[in-house]
Symmetry: C2
Subunit: 405 residues, 2 copies
C-alpha cells in the first residue's frame, strides 16, 4: 500500500467522518479492499471509536445474484439488512462508504431486476435515507481503486498498472500531500462554504443554463433555499464532509419549476451500467423525454422507479477548471466525475433551507421526494448560467464553464 494512504486514511476519519470519541462507525467496504478497511478501522479506534462495524460487499457475488437468483429475491429486502441500517442510525453511528464500483458490473443483467431491487430496498430504507440526507449523523463517501474499476478507467494497460494509475489519480484529485492534507482540506471546505454563502445571499428566483451541447434549462429555486458545500454539521455537532473529494456547492431545486433540455457531458455509472449521452427534456419539472446513446433501458428503469424519480432533487455548481476537471480524466465514478462538472440529480433532494422548516413544509415549498438520488453531469467548457433575482435582475453565475464572480 502506498505510504500516502496513511495520510488519506487520516483525512477520511478526521475530516470526512470527523468521528467523535465513543461513536460507532459503520464501514461499508468491498472485500477486495480488506487492507484498506484495516487501516481505516485502526484510525477509527485511534479517534476513540466505540466499535467499528464492517458491512462487506463483493461484486462477484452481487453479479451472480442478479444473474442467477430466483426472481422473487428482488422484491424482498431482507429484514436483517433493514434492521442494520436503522439500528446504527438510532445509535447515532457514523457511516463510511468505500464506493469503488465496477461501472459495468451489471452489464447484461435484466434492468427489471435492478429496478425491482431498487424499489424493494428504497421502500424499506426511505426513512433512513431521509435521516442521512438531513445529516442526522455523519456520513462520508470515498473511493479506493478496485481492479475492475481501474481497468474501466485505464483499459489499455495491465490490471496492476491500472490500479497504480488510479491510485495516483485519486491522490491527485484529493491533492494529497506528504503532510498537511487535513489542514488544506479544512481550508477548502471553508472556501466552499463562503462560495455557498454568496449564492445563498443572492437568493435567486431561478437559474438559466445554456451551452453548446444542447443544455437549455431553467431551474426555479424554492423560497428560503440555501446553498451548501461539504462541511455540514451533524446532529451531534460534528462538522463532516459527506464526499471526499468535493468541489461542489449545491442546493434544492423547485420540483415543478424546471423546464427545457439537459444534456450530459460525461458518462454516468448507473446501477452497474454506463449510460452515455443522456438527453432529457423537462416540462413543469417533469422529465418527459429521456434518451441515451448507451444504457437507455437502465436509465428509463431508474427514471420509473417512483414518481419522484422524474423530477430534479439537486442542482450543483462546479467550475470547469476545478482541480479534478483539469485532470481531463473520466473516472466512471460519480464521486469524482460529479466533482469535475456542474451536475444535477434526479430524485430526492437534500433539505437545503435557511430556516429549517419541517419536512412537510419543505415538500410544500417544492422540494422533491423520491427513493432515488442520481447525479448526472452537465458542465462543459462553455456552460453559462444566469441567475435571476427575486426582483428580476440577471446576474451572471457561470461564464465559460466557471464561476463568473
Amino acid at each position: 500500500m502506498d505510504s500516502r494512504f496513511t495520510e488519506y486514511a487520516d483525512l477520511i476519519i478526521r475530516v470526512g467522518v470527523n468521528l467523535r470519541p465513543g461513536q460507532t462507525l459503520v464501514l461499508s467496504c468491498p472485500v477486495e479492499c480488506a487492507d484498506i478497511a484495516h487501516v481505516l478501522t485502526e484510525k477509527a479506534y485511534d479517534a476513540g471509536a466505540r466499535e467499528v462495524v464492517l458491512r462487506w460487499n463483493d461484486e462477484v457475488i452481487t453479479r451472480m445474484k442478479y444473474l442467477r437468483a430466483e426472481d422473487s429475491v428482488f422484491d424482498e429486502f431482507p429484514k436483517w439488512l433493514e434492521t442494520l441500517f436503522y439500528e446504527y442510525a438510532d445509535r447515532g453511528a457514523a457511516l463510511l462508504t468505500i464506493y469503488a464500483e465496477d461501472p459495468e458490473l451489471l452489464r447484461g443483467v435484466d434492468p427489471g431486476r435492478i429496478q425491482r431491487w431498487g424499489r424493494a430496498s428504497g421502500q424499506k430504507l426511505k426513512a433512513y435515507q431521509e435521516r442521512q440526507m438531513a445529516n442526522e449523523f455523519q456520513w462520508n463517501v470515498v473511493s479506493v481503486p478496485t481492479k475492475k474499476w481501474a481497468r474501466s478507467v485505464f483499459p489499455s494497460v495491465s490490471e496492476a498498472e491500472a490500479v497504480e494509475k488510479l491510485w495516483d489519480a485519486i491522490y491527485h484529485a484529493l491533492d494529497l500531500r506528504e503532510s498537511g492534507t487535513v489542514d488544506a482540506w479544512r481550508e477548502k471546505i471553508k472556501l466552499l462554504g463562503s462560495r455557498a454563502q454568496k449564492l445563498t445571499d443572492y437568493n435567486f428566483q431561478k437559474l438559466i443554463y445554456q451551452n453548446s451541447l444542447g443544455t437549455e434549462l431553467t431551474i426555479e429555486l424554492p423560497e428560503n433555499h440555501k446553498w451548501v458545500g461539504v462541511g455540514e454539521q451533524a446532529k451531534n455537532g460534528a462538522v463532516f464532509a459527506a464526499n471526499l473529494p468535493s468541489e461542489e456547492v449545491f442546493t434544492v431545486p423547485k420540483r415543478i419549476g424546471v423546464n427545457g433540455a439537459a444534456v450530459s457531458s460525461k458518462p454516468l455509472a448507473l446501477n452497474g451500467t454506463l449510460v452515455r449521452d443522456i438527453r432529457m427534456r423537462f416540462e413543469g419539472g417533469k422529465i418527459v423525454d429521456a434518451f441515451a446513446s448507451e444504457g437507455l433501458e437502465t436509465l428509463l428503469k431508474s427514471l420509473d422507479l417512483d414518481e419522484g424519480s422524474r423530477y430534479l432533487g439537486e442542482v450543483a455548481l462546479v467550475p470547469y477548471h476545478s482541480p479534478i476537471s483539469l485532470m481531463n480524466l473520466v473516472f466512471n465514478n460519480t464521486l469524482f466525475d460529479e466533482n469535475a462538472s456542474c451536475h444535477l440529480a434526479y430524485g430526492s433532494a437534500y433539505p437545503c433551507f435557511k430556516d429549517e422548516p419541517s419536512r412537510e413544509e419543505m415538500l410544500a415549498r417544492g422540494m422533491n421526494d423520491s427513493m432515488n438520488h442520481i447525479d448526472f453531469m452537465v458542465g462543459t467548457e462553455d456552460l453559462s448560467i444566469t441567475g435571476v433575482t427575486q426582483d428580476g435582475r440577471t446576474v451572471p453565475v457561470f461564464a465559460n464553464g466557471d464561476f463568473a464572480f
Copy 2:
C-alpha cells in the same frame, strides 16, 4: 486455486449441504477466502439456490474489536445480527460455514471480554442453536486454508508454502480424488451410519474410558439414546453432512452421570487461544476441577459461561487409526482434530434419542443444556472403552485406541 477445489466444492454443496432447488444458502466466509466463496456460490446456484447470502468475516477486524472497542460492546449482541440468523432459519435456509480460524487470533485479549461476548451472543442465539442442533435445516462446516491458520500448523515454512501444505493436508484428510469423491463420501456416510446403529443396538447403560494419559472416566448414557454419524436428515427431507470431513459417531451423555478424570490428547483451539494439556475432574456430571498447561484462563472463562458449560453434551468415538489420525498432524482446528480422535464436548447436547421426545422430556432424561458446545480430544493409541449393557454385561467397545468390534 487447485483444480481439486472444484471437486471439493461439489462435495460441499451436494453432500455437505445437499442444497435443495429453491432453497436459500447462507454462506459464512472469511474475506480472505473470497475466491472460495465465489466457486461455492456458483455451485450453489448450479444446484438451484434461490439466493446465496454472504456473511463475511475478517479476523483482523475481529481482533481489533476485542483489543480496542469500548467495553459495553461485548455485552450487546446487535439486533440486526440476531435478525439475520432467525430470518433465514424461518425461511428454511441452509447454512454453510467456512471455519478457518487463526487458533491464536485472540492471544493477549482479555478473556473476560470473550466470555461476555459469548454470553451476549449465546443468550440471543440459543433458540437458533437449538434449532440447528435439531437439524431443522441443513448445516455444514468445512475448512479452507487461511494464511494465519496455515502458519500455525506449519510454522517452519513460508506463509505461501504453509498454505500449499495445508491445502494438501485438507485434500488428504477428505480423501479427495480426481473424480468419484461424492460417491466415496456417500459410502463413508453409510458406513458411519451402520457403525452408529450397532452402538445404538447395544443400548449401553454406560461407557468406561481408560488410557495411560490419565483418562479414567465413566459416562452414563440416557434412556433411549441413539448414536449417529454425519448423514442426518433435515426437516425438508434432505440428508446432509454437518461436518466434512467426519469420522465420528456420537451420542448424548447423561448430564449428571459422568465421574472421573479426562485428559486431552491434542491442543484445543478455543476462542482464538490454544489450550494445551487439559485435565478435568468430574463429580456427578460436573467438571469440578479443570487445569491446562496453556490457555487455562480461557478454558475457565469458557467453563463459566453458564451452568451447563460444566457438564458434558457429547460423547464421540473415532478410531485412533482413522485416515486423519494416521496423518499424524495436529491441525489446530477442531473440525480436523476431533475427527482424528475420540472426543467429548462440554455444553449443549445434540438431541440424539430414538423416540424423538419433546425437548422437555429430553432434558428430563438427562440431556445437558448450555449456550456452549466445545469439543475436546481424549483419544490415544491405548484408549480402551468398555460398554456396560442394561443387564450389567461388559462389552469391549474400544481396545488400543480402535473399535474392538
